[in-house]
């Protein structure tokens, strides 16, 4: 019989945790996209050898504790304010790599002004935008990106645009601004999608060297707890319902 010790030999290694990830167990629900995206950011930082020169700005939301998992220096911003905090950091330390990590409530509701204006000023920062169409941490309330008809705890009969307004496509909005150089929409629900998302994040970080403005990577994500689905069902639901409204691919690449 094969023992565990026989399996964990170096030659059997198919996945290695990035050195830029800490050993802290993640608090995210099983099936949540955050852990995958954190890993991709850590891998990009490791591969670019910029652990000592990268400053992250964490949001308010489930990923408020991103600094517990990615082993770099961080600022924990107030809800929605990450692009302003990142502006302060980048303007004063232009040689550092500065990125924000924001959810849809953070980036597309309470922080709309900070997002739009950081993009419009062309700050040389990277924005990673997790869009799962719901407020996860506070328990599944309607988000600015919640789809029409989609159920949330503050729209229990489904989002109705007559009452709740329409879901907002922030990436499409900021792609119109001359201050952004790269805007893309990705997902991490399949191995192929994960590889593409990593390439996008890498490009978004590399772009900071070119000083051509904001690079924004939207990751259309699941919140299976908030959506009240199994992880597999959530991935399927996302592909069937989220992707038609939030189609994957580059919106801008200059």
């Amino acid at each position: 019989m094969i023992d565990v010790k026989d399996i964990i030999k170096p030659e059997n290694l198919v996945f290695k945790k990035s050195k830029v990830l800490t050993d802290t167990p993640m608090h995210y629900c099983p099936g949540c996209s955050h852990g995958v995206v954190h890993n991709l950011i850590a891998e990009v930082i490791e591969e670019m050898e910029i652990q000592e020169t990268t400053i992250g700005v964490a949001p308010v939301g489930c990923s408020v504790f991103a600094y517990n998992y990615i082993d770099i220096d961080w600022h924990e911003a107030a809800h929605g304010r990450a692009p302003a905090v990142a502006t302060g950091i980048k303007r004063l330390m232009p040689d550092k790599f500065v990125f924000t990590y924001q959810g849809d409530g953070d980036l597309a509701a309470i922080g709309t002004a900070e997002t739009i204006h950081a993009c419009n000023r062309g700050e040389n920062i990277t924005i990673v935008f997790i869009n799962n169409g719901i407020y996860g941490m506070t328990g599944g309330q309607m988000a600015p990106t919640t789809l029409e008809g989609m159920v949330a705890s503050t729209c229990p009969s489904g989002r109705d645009h007559a009452r709740d307004g329409y879901p907002i496509k922030m990436s499409d909005l900021v792609a119109q601004l001359p201050g952004t150089c790269y805007v893309t929409r990705q997902a991490v629900h399949t191995a192929g999608a994960v590889r593409k998302a990593k390439k996008a994040i890498r490009k978004a970080f590399e772009n900071q060297k070119r000083k051509k403005g904001v690079s924004l990577v939207e990751v259309v994500s699941t919140c299976n707890s908030g959506w009240k689905m199994s992880p597999v069902d959530a991935n399927n639901w996302m592909a069937e319902n989220m992707f038609p409204f939030y189609p994957l691919g580059d919106l801008k690449d200059e």
């Binding site: 000592e52 600094y67 600022h75 924990e76 502006t87 302060g88 950091i89 303007r91 002004a113």
Partner: protein
């Protein structure tokens, strides 16, 4: 030069790294002066007009967490918008300087000078148990001098500091002696002086995380205890005030900022009439000179507190004398400014005759 211009000149000369602001009357000359002087070409100071006061205070948060000297200026409605960010900065224990050139309120109020933001400045302002270091200039010279003092105290205690001025001092023109230019800190100096700053994680240390989040109650309480210990130390070591003709005084006027400047003349008018009155001017509003004002309680018969508000600092003066002496307020509001005669009359009517 104007008080607002003095702030800008002093900031560049002191070696400030960044200014982030949003226009609002009566302090827009601060950013206008900075932009006209183009310090990014000389000292390397960054000057940026933000999209709102909410954004500018958060740019300060990012800059302060980088270990740099950063500041903003605004006036009352703008300072209200900044309160969220100020609370985060105080919670994360980061140093920065915020100038409030106060105008009358509430609401949009008036663009005329007032002192009606005293409570907001000295009692916290935003959410949570925190204090700012608050300096109250009463001349254009002090507008210039307090920029450096505010930064020194802010970095000494890793705490945001506020210069609480008003439209009188901001717009008034006086001669000013400015300090020599001093260089900004180098990156190496910042790492050495501010090892807590988020300057990029090095192998020699753990992560530096600028945060005010402590989700476990016991951790948050420990942070609160540390903050309170810091404020207590400030109260013991950093009280600053000025006295004028207090040695033989039978009556006292306690006033800050522009009200103190006007009251100095009132003291002279009263002295001409043979009234033995002195002026005590708190320079630090937090920490407040409780002990120092209290020490006059046995010597004097009454205290007048003239303020350009409905009576705010008077509460701290009453705490200072703890009921031993009659304390009365004389105020004008909404941008109205009292004359030295008015204050002198109030002294005679409310304190001596009262």
């Amino acid at each position: 030069m104007k008080g607002n211009e003095a702030i800008a000149e002093a900031a560049i000369r002191y070696g400030v790294d960044g200014y982030f602001g949003y226009p609002i009357t009566p302090q827009s000359e601060v950013m206008e002066t900075l932009m006209a002087m183009r310090p990014w070409e000389t000292t390397g100071m960054v000057v940026l007009q933000a999209e709102s006061e909410v954004a500018s205070i958060n740019m300060l948060y990012g800059g302060a967490g980088s270990g740099k000297r950063v500041m903003t200026s605004s006036s009352s409605p703008g300072i209200s918008l900044m309160q969220e960010g100020i609370s985060y900065i105080a919670g994360a224990e980061l140093p920065c300087v915020i100038v409030n050139v106060v105008r009358g309120g509430p609401g949009l109020g008036t663009i005329q000078p007032s002192q009606s933001d005293y409570f907001q400045a000295v009692k916290g302002g935003g959410h949570g148990d925190y204090k700012l270091i608050v300096l109250a200039p009463s001349s254009v010279q002090e507008m210039a001098d307090f920029v450096g003092l505010a930064f020194d105290l802010a970095f000494k205690y890793r705490n945001p500091a506020m210069i609480l001025s008003d439209g009188v001092i901001g717009q008034m023109m006086e001669k000013v002696e400015l300090d020599e230019y001093r260089p900004r800190w180098t990156d190496e100096e910042i790492i050495e002086k501010n090892p807590w700053a988020a300057t990029g994680k090095k192998p020699v240390r753990g992560q530096n995380i600028m945060t005010s989040l402590h989700i476990q109650a016991v951790d948050q309480e420990n942070v609160n205890r540390r903050l309170q210990a810091k404020y207590k130390e400030m109260q013991e070591k950093e009280v600053r005030y000025e006295t004028f003709m207090c040695d033989d005084a039978e009556y006292l006027i306690v006033a800050f900022g522009s009200a103190a400047r006007i009251s100095k003349k009132s003291v002279e008018l009263a002295r001409e009439k043979g009234i033995k009155v002195g002026l005590l001017r708190p320079i630090t509003l937090f920490p407040f000179p409780y002990k120092e004002i209290g020490s006059y309680a046995d010597q004097i018969k009454g205290i007048l507190v003239p303020e350009m508000n409905a009576g705010q600092m008077i509460e701290d003066v009453k705490l200072a004398v703890n009921g031993k002496v009659d304390v009365e307020h004389y105020g004008r509001m909404g941008g109205m400014i009292f004359s030295p005669d008015e204050v002198e009359n109030a002294l005679e009517e409310l304190i001596i005759g009262g």
